[in-house]
Symmetry: C2
Subunit: 261 residues, 2 copies
Amino acid sequence: MRWIRFSTDDRCAYGLLDGDAVMEISGEPWGTPAPTGSKYRLRDVTLEVPVVPRTFYCAGINYSTHIREMAAKRGVQPVFPEKPDIGYRANNALIAHEQPVVIPVDATEKVNYEGELVVVIGKQAKHLSAADAMSCVYGYTIGNDVSERTWQRGDRTFWRGKNANTFKPMGPWIETDVNLDTMTTIVRVNGAESVRFKTNDMIFDIPTYIAAMTRYLTLYPGDVIWMGTDGTSPDLRHGDVVEVEITGLGMLRNPFVRPTN
Amino acid sequence: MRWIRFSTDDRCAYGLLDGDAVMEISGEPWGTPAPTGSKYRLRDVTLEVPVVPRTFYCAGINYSTHIREMAAKRGVQPVFPEKPDIGYRANNALIAHEQPVVIPVDATEKVNYEGELVVVIGKQAKHLSAADAMSCVYGYTIGNDVSERTWQRGDRTFWRGKNANTFKPMGPWIETDVNLDTMTTIVRVNGAESVRFKTNDMIFDIPTYIAAMTRYLTLYPGDVIWMGTDGTSPDLRHGDVVEVEITGLGMLRNPFVRPTN
């Protein structure tokens, strides 16, 4: 099933997507969804971020090539994580499919994309084993972990380097039926392929992260876990359009704009 | 005005607190609160965390004595922040007044309190100057930024060192009328005073933080900003009770428990 969160002139709701047809439901897909009887065409509604999470988790460094290439860019030795220490991002930065990433006027040129698989939690979960971990997963969406590298390195936290307004595009929808092992993540800039990697080729996979996390914390329905990215990004400029496609899931597209004042 | 968020058998709501009397409202205090007509006594309701924020901001190091004493504990030179880089905490860790902080079974002995003033945002805000910054503040509450120092230093992120379940007590209520310059923060362990500092003696004060943050991000009603702590904490053990009092605001009390398996 493919679920969108959408808005019209008078409401914001979830809908089941079938081709171009949207069947509105009350509540959330992972709750007890009930059809409201309202139907729309996809082109007549505005896509919203698929969920505003209670807690916004993000794995950060979780693919080998990304770690090697980022280290080479900085002229340092690559350091691989020894265990799945989850990180965080901020809800203020979320934007939907097709909404513009607005680069702050005082950002440096080092603005990069990071195309990521996003896990959407559907059940409250604590103390899951790796074998049981996937039982709390409802579905998947796509994220772009936009980063201003100068701020990311120089500030004490990731607050503006990764969490400035509009730096976290997520969407376009939640897909419940995927085959992780056959998925490929492809990032395009202005239509030209920039990065391609096997989506599930993670250092610590989804069950490993969920088992580690739920030893110390409770996951709630609607929480999201961004799983990290592979490869590296060119520096993005005003007018660039970035597409993050994950095969079998969908494609998240956002233009980048840079106001001059 | 003093607002509590409370639950009864059949509802969770905000209420205006006057002595022991609770007058229930619909909606949120910073919205368009309207009395529902229901009244309770404080002792007959359960206090909940005063707000579950959309984004949970936390200043981290923001008082001089805390930085000097923490550096001395670790045998390193103190490093003072050069600018107000805001950090984050996680909603999963929030608990209310009187709820127990549960120390994970595999935590080290280095479990500490940090008593903090919490700013509650009441209006959507972007691009505020320091002079206008306080216009988005609705009121204040109290936080205890519980930390497991070994994990805080050794992990790649603060995920379990500061954000394990129950590590973020907040409450007991939101107070709208305070005089920041006359407030004192006092932390007691088992009734004995442990730390005392002037609440507003921050390295970067509230207007400075809000002006810096809203240059890059939008604050939303219900967001919270924890303002950091001064002094240091003894290592806390099973059975300890920690009270964080801020004069003119209230007192947040939580027992610490440590299951043996």
